[in-house]
Symmetry: C2
Amino acid sequence: MSPSAVAANAHAGESEVNLTNAAIEHRTSGTDAANGTSNITNGVHTKALPKLDASKLTYSFTKSPREIPAPGVTSDDGNSICTDHMVCVPWKSKSGWGTPELKPYGPLNLMPTASCLHYATECFEGMKAYRGFDGKLRLFRPDCNAARMLMSSVRISLPAFEPAELEKLVLALMAVDGPKWLPRERPGTFIYLRPTMIGTQSALGVQAPNEALLYIIATYMPIMDNPVGGMRLHTSPDDMVRAWVGGFGYAKEARERGFGQILWLYGEQGYCTEAGASNFFVVWKDKESGKTQVVTAPLDDRLILDGVTRRSALQLIRERLSDEVEVVERKYTINEVMEASNEGRLVECFASGTAYFVMPISLIHHRGQDLPFPMGKAGEGGEVTLKVKGWLKDIMYGNEQHPWGVVVPEEQ
Amino acid sequence: MSPSAVAANAHAGESEVNLTNAAIEHRTSGTDAANGTSNITNGVHTKALPKLDASKLTYSFTKSPREIPAPGVTSDDGNSICTDHMVCVPWKSKSGWGTPELKPYGPLNLMPTASCLHYATECFEGMKAYRGFDGKLRLFRPDCNAARMLMSSVRISLPAFEPAELEKLVLALMAVDGPKWLPRERPGTFIYLRPTMIGTQSALGVQAPNEALLYIIATYMPIMDNPVGGMRLHTSPDDMVRAWVGGFGYAKEARERGFGQILWLYGEQGYCTEAGASNFFVVWKDKESGKTQVVTAPLDDRLILDGVTRRSALQLIRERLSDEVEVVERKYTINEVMEASNEGRLVECFASGTAYFVMPISLIHHRGQDLPFPMGKAGEGGEVTLKVKGWLKDIMYGNEQHPWGVVVPEEQ
């Protein structure tokens, strides 16, 4: 504190406040989150605005239904194949959430000044619907995706909403498009769901948008969890930030050299964070105790995604493998992985995420060196990897009845 | 290098290459940049694809021209007011740049899967057109904006183009909309131009888009360089990254407390970087030499924007004030600014950018303390601030004929 610095004046700051945390807590707490607006303007409480309300959903069905692609076909000349319908809900700061509409899938009309086209005022969730071997259609822990979508949205100053309403809207879309696009004759298949929020206000200038659009679409996506021989990772260079400047180009060149994903290292120490957009797990024998450990980066420093598959995998390992394997969430470096490799302590390695599901990893390329990982007897992945994958698959596709598998009430 | 690590195999990496830099250099070098595509697929050179070509511009004029707003009116219920027309140019990786179209301003049709709506595959430039006191319409150094737009675009894997062609398209839009929207009866006014590039391919999945849209729009924007009493800045908290998580909310709360912008500090040392989205300058007497210095953050660590106004201000100070003032581009901390304040060495302070032009700063609030800055005799800004502002204004509005002022060949 400097002698000549003038004391903060009354207007500008009676007290030091962490404005950000206060703002996020304010917007996500209690009724404000449900209202989708703070309802406080210049300290004056205004009347409550309409909340996101799935019970108001209107239905307008397509007059030109498309044919579903043959099994295994997931794109059309490189473009995503979406189902016949989508759900859209507009929001305005002045009037709150509008009426949710289920309507034919088609283009959005956005003004060239829309804030999402300039300032990345946008966020999304990725989740899947699964056609079970029992004929039922399920979502996997949709409450987790809805809750995370709310966090993403308010963090970038997009509107808040009641997560349970988003979950209902996702179910409603699948209730309509599920029977046709994930037919009962194709058990064991899935479709990808993408709830998205974009800032639509047509005003240039970096500011919290006063208008937004929530929409939900469903597309096909290839099965990616079973590459022949396991996935190979290439570590990121020292100076690159994940998923931004140069990220695309780097990943593309890595793919052309035969690597499935980048293993993103963080900081000078080279902390292991994520593999592509998936969470990353190493199984090794602990240096000190000799115990088998499943090690993955922690959530508390907010460096990595709080993956639903990650969370579910860890919970199942803790519940079902606690006699054999210890779950460790901590920061760990690529050098520790190399050391375990050198000392013969590496057991296996996998990545998890909605797109890649549970993906065995066979090799990491780091600074000119290849670190191989055992891929199990059948070459399809290590023991822990395959157990986790099997358990999750059973829940998703109805071989095991489990609260995480939420059945879609399909229209017949 | 670990003994057990297998040597990199032939497929995966004969040599260690900085993939990113190689990719950027490749895409921006020579003919590739002009072609807007690498023209190399799996090592096979393909035929050259159409380049961005302003000479092919087609014109389709609006049938419902709008009235221009009254002088000083810059928005319509919070929304941007755009001119009658815009320029759009589509790009596809397979077919290169399409025909540029000047057409009525209106909504864009984007598929809900368009990559810009999910992965922020988007970039823009901000520049202005100025109605001179001599009646002529000018752009200010449009070549700088076009060159920077190219850098932004290829860095996020959007297509390359010949910057001179973008410059011509901006001139073409202003040649059509300038006479009406910046009328000769309103000398000393400006309009804001926003060249924008977005990834439009309708394919979910993080990848370089195969389709993109370049568009140019023009809007009104308020005059922001002359706040009564100068602009007040609030420093950013320790843990916040500029313009991302929480950035909007924090800036909003700061504005509600009477601060015009956030002064973004970087790292534990608290390096001064930018004020809002503007470059930031302190004028002080140097601690050692006693000389008057204009100090601003350097470009070499890529932390700050290479602002056209910043670059121009520094060049003019070097050319015209070298006897009195020394220009210093270096890293400096908020503590150095506080120390200069304590020791009575602070002379003045300003921010520069396209939106805020040259903006005098009267106060910085940092961790509970106010640091006041002298605002000159008339209270409108310090001596250096006002000189820089005057020189730039003279060039922009034609009081001084200068190569930086590029005259738009208006249609009559």
